[in-house]
């Protein structure tokens, strides 16, 4: 499709939907705007487009087709964030008016179903992690880290240690939101780099980083390079020994469900992404759900409310024993994501969750061997070892040999209806990419993905120009990214575009 921008489709006079009009009695109250001071009455109507319903629908349906969702392609090149299959039955639950049409302030007697889902999901998560209580409010993994950061902040303050404990230790292969949140919550960030051979956090550097100033450790394991760190318990013990807290980033816990838990590894806090490990879809970047848990001693710092059950088996919102002031989000959590995770766990049970972990590891080690056979691709660190649920690869060799790196492969792979992502910055691994097949993909699908990578690597050697001018079969051609970095040229809205340009990017001045 060569679909115009919505505003170009406006045809004055058309309408997309009729607003339910007030009844005659209400309308007879007259024009309520008259009573407002002049300055508060909008003078010109908003310049929204005017379009009939079918045209609006067609526009968005066409745009929808111009996406490669996980439902449409073998979407295993999303770095650590490969989305697993989000079962369609769970979408039906999420779409149910029985969930959608609930107001958050309804009397608890009228929302027992919603409360049961929150309560049971929390119970399941406690089993998976071994921790004691969860907060289901956050709208994504980063907000879960914010929740954790707030708990740590408030805990430090409550101990009267705000002056002393002002550092947070993390690793370079932990998600960027860990250090970013630490900074918002007023901590200094100390980042530990990996041992160049094993890929695990450098133990000596870690020991040097931890001291009495350490408020907390925020760490992932296995990290986003897919290597499990067996010294994790020593690390959490060390942090505890200096009076700090330990938080486990389990956004992606795919490979270890039912295999190893936050509790046994000595963590005080952890979080999971329900959109990711527990199958809720990604929705172009949310709504997601990040849920974080704590051990007993931190429960008083957890955001209120949580859901409890009374002696009669009735569920209710509990504000006691948790922290009403530690609010990070409106209301009680992203129900459409939570109900999907709830249903997904129910469909699998203990044995099923373990099988998820086992197959995700099996799949990853299968594709790991295949990708390593592609000339120009390698996997730094921990040579000869199996991997956990993902692997960070490098195509630096390909870059050296052909001049084509991950950026070029990214542009080209869409021509094969696939996607690959370059991994989080900084590029400690040069020309990186991360593949994580999860448990959702079959052998044939993994083979298909590898075949495409192989073919592109061959193209890079034989005809690098194909990559340099890719994509060839997308809706659009190469985008001028410089325009997006220049304040004079960028246009974040159609309104700004119209001020800056006329026609097709003809500057007005």
């Amino acid at each position: 499709w060569d679909e115009p921008i919505l505003f170009e489709l406006s045809s004055p006079g058309e309408r997309g939907v009729q607003v339910p009009a007030p009844g005659p009695a209400a309308a007879a109250c007259g024009d309520p705007l008259r009573d407002l001071p002049e300055g508060m009455r909008r003078k010109t109507p908003p310049a929204l487009p005017e379009m009939a319903q079918m045209r609006v629908l067609r526009h968005y349906l066409r745009l929808s087709q111009e996406n490669l969702g996980a439902d449409l392609n073998v979407d295993i090149g999303q770095g650590t964030c490969t989305m697993k299959y989000s079962p369609k039955i769970n979408d039906q639950f999420a779409a149910s008016p029985k969930l959608a049409e609930l107001h958050p302030l309804q009397d608890p007697s009228t929302v027992q179903g919603a409360l049961e889902i929150l309560h049971e999901t929390e119970r399941f998560l406690k089993e998976v992690s071994g921790l004691d209580r969860f907060c289901l409010h956050p709208g994504g993994g980063s907000q879960a880290i914010l929740g954790i950061g707030s708990v740590i902040r408030n805990w430090v303050d409550a101990q009267g240690l705000s002056g002393q404990k002002d550092e947070i230790v993390t690793t370079i292969f932990s998600h960027p939101s860990n250090p970013a949140v630490a900074k918002i919550k007023g901590f200094k960030v100390v980042t530990v780099y990996p041992d160049p051979v094993t890929g695990r956090p450098d133990l000596e550097a870690f020991k040097a980083a931890v001291n009495e100033r350490t408020a907390a450790l925020l760490i992932t394991n296995p990290e986003d390079i897919g290597i499990y760190n067996p010294h994790i318990r020593e690390m959490t013990d060390l942090v505890h020994s200096v009076g700090g807290l330990c938080s486990y980033d389990q956004a992606n816990a795919n490979g270890i469900l039912g295999i190893t838990r936050a509790k046994e590894a000595g963590f005080d806090l952890c979080f999971f992404n329900l959109h990711k490990t527990f199958s809720s879809p990604h929705g172009c970047g949310g709504p997601g759900s990040g849920v974080f848990g704590v051990r007993e001693h931190l429960v008083p710092f957890l955001p209120a409310p949580v859901v409890d059950k009374d002696a009669q088996g009735r569920f209710f919102l509990q504000y006691q024993g948790v922290d009403r002031e530690n609010r990070i989000k409106d209301y009680y959590g992203v129900l459409p994501a939570i109900v999907r995770a709830y249903a997904w766990i129910l469909s699998l049970g203990d044995e099923g969750l373990r099988e998820v972990a086992r197959v995700s590891i099996l799949n990853n080690n299968y594709i790991f061997r295949k990708i390593l056979q592609i000339p120009g691709f390698e996997a730094p660190y921990a040579k000869g070892e199996h991997r956990m649920e993902q692997v960070r690869y490098s195509m630096q060799d390909l870059m050296d040999a052909t001049g084509c790196g991950i950026g070029d492969v990214q542009n080209r792979i869409f021509d094969y209806g696939m996607h690959i992502w370059s991994s989080h910055e900084p590029w400690l691994v040069p020309q990186p990419f991360t593949v994580e097949p999860t448990e959702s993909y079959s052998v044939e699908e993994m083979d298909e993905y590898v075949a495409v990578l192989e073919r592109i690597a061959r193209e890079a050697r034989e005809n690098p120009e194909i990559l340099k001018h890719a994509p060839h079969r997308s809706t659009i051609h190469h985008v001028d990214h410089d325009a997006l970095e220049d304040p004079k040229r960028w246009a974040i809205t159609w309104r700004a575009y119209q001020r800056k340009y006329r026609g097709y990017f003809e500057p007005r001045s």
Partner: protein, 463 residues
């Protein structure tokens, strides 16, 4: 898994397939991959989870049974608002946000996810028309997060560390703001007039100083009234070198002047009323908007999708000023960014495209008319004062029951027996208002609905 149970979600749960894969890898068994985990860290117990509902039909029956324990606002008559609104959701909004392609897309490049980039650019653009601003972000988690981030942006822009926040702010939002700004930004409240609900300018002026990064208020306020002092507050803030941040209800902007029209530097708010189901408070998205000035743009933590030319003259899209984000710079980026609420942004875009200028005008007018009519009807009841404040309500207003001798809690209990969800109880968070409740109207309310509340409430008051 047992030999006989292959899960539809896990293609390779078949033991024969697993054996072939292990052979190809050269591994003995799957356990071998876990050899790196010390035995002390291995969890050898069972997770105490319910027996799996392996068949989809059994799962459906169970989950639908749980959901049936809810009684929705569709099934009752609700007057709850206070930041989350029962509103029309056009079917096209549902259709678009349930499309597999949008629902399961994620982090594709501007080429393979061209549609996602364009749809979000259009969302930004539609909001920009409503707000009369030139920059709008890709949605953040919710309105409260947007408010908190806008205030942190104001601090960075001004290099100051105190914000003055109206006391007529949604109490839970105020908690989010305080919490998010802790420890380095000071939050100071300024009051409102008990009779009108309007800001107390004197109090505000007393508190303004050269530390003031921003003044913040909600318009309409949490108590439902349309604030008319915006320009004066903007002038006051600007006079001390601070900014004005306003939290606005987008549903009101078909009829009300957008904050940028009375001097707001930053506008923020919640997009739930724009075609997003309430979901027990789980359907939320926040917006932040400003002028297209680099000092503002560079302080957004969110992604900002911009339009850009391509080699062959199509509309291309991409991230504007990527280097400001935590994705690019970790702790040296602006706050943080992650998966938030993009799909709701697309949905709100669809909603605004369907509504158009006329729809937004009619929506705003109709809500104000209903609020006015409902207040009139309730005010007729003995002992009831509605609205309890003299300002002009947009869609909701406090109703005071002090004259009835009954608590809001008791009245709501009686209404619930009649399958009516009465207004939000304000007596705890706003004790100065006595036994008051915040009653909210909806464009779904007919005259009959409003009359029904009046007559049922009359009956409740009799006992």
């Amino acid at each position: 898994m047992s030999e006989t149970f292959v899960h539809p979600y896990i293609p390779n749960s078949d033991p024969a397939i697993q054996r072939r894969m292990l052979e190809s890898i050269g591994a003995r068994d799957i356990e071998e991959f876990y050899a790196c985990i010390p035995e002390a860290l291995r969890f050898r117990g069972r997770m105490d989870l319910p027996a799996p509902l392996a068949s989809e039909a059994a799962l459906r029956r169970h989950v639908m049974g749980v959901l049936d324990r809810n009684r929705t606002c569709d099934e009752a008559l609700s007057f709850l608002g206070g930041g989350c609104y029962q509103a029309q959701v056009p079917a096209v909004c549902d259709e678009v946000n349930r499309r597999s392609e949008f629902l399961t897309a994620y982090a594709g490049e501007p080429y393979e996810d061209h549609g996602r980039f364009q749809a979000l650019f259009e969302y930004e653009s539609l909001m920009a028309e409503l707000l009369e601003t030139e920059v709008v972000n890709v949605p953040t988690y919710d309105g409260s997060q947007a408010a908190a981030t806008a205030l942190r942006m104001a601090c960075r822009i001004t290099g100051r560390d105190e914000v003055l926040v109206s006391a007529a702010t949604n109490p839970d939002r105020l908690r989010v703001i305080r919490n998010y700004l802790r420890p380095d930004v000071k939050v100071t409240l300024f009051g409102f007039h008990a009779a009108t609900g309007e800001a107390d300018l004197e109090d505000l002026n007393r508190k303004l100083s050269s530390s003031t990064a921003s003044v913040y208020f909600e318009n309409p306020s949490f108590l439902g009234g349309i604030g008319t002092l915006g320009q004066q507050m903007a002038d006051a803030a600007h006079a001390v070198g601070g900014l004005l941040t306003v939290f606005a209800d987008p549903a009101s902007l078909g009829v009300l002047t957008p904050p940028s029209g009375y001097g707001a530097d930053l506008t923020c708010g919640e997009i739930q009323p724009l075609g997003i189901h309430m979901y027990y408070g789980g359907g939320r998205g926040g917006f932040i908007a400003s002028a297209d000035e680099e000092r503002f743009v560079q302080e957004y933590p969110s992604r900002l999708f911009g339009v850009a030319p391509t080699e062959k003259g199509e509309w291309g899209f991409g991230d504007v000023a990527w280097e400001r984000t935590s994705f690019a710079k970790r702790e040296d980026g602006k706050e943080f960014v992650g998966t938030a609420a993009a799909l709701w942004g697309i949905t709100a875009g669809v909603y605004l495209a369907l509504m158009g200028p006329k729809g937004m005008q009619e929506l705003g007018t109709g809500l104000m008319q209903r609020a006015r009519y409902l207040a009139k009807r309730l005010n007729e009841l003995p002992g009831v004062k509605a609205p309890a404040l003299t300002g002009t309500p947009f869609r909701e207003f406090p109703v005071n029951f002090d004259g009835t001798g009954l608590s809001v809690k008791e009245i709501n209990r009686r209404l619930l027996e009649r399958n009516i969800y009465g207004g939000q109880d304000l007596s705890e968070e706003f004790p100065s208002l006595g036994q008051s409740a915040l009653y909210c109207t909806s464009e779904l309310h007919t005259d009959a609905d409003l009359d029904r509340l009046a007559s049922e409430l009359a009956a409740c008051l009799k006992g």
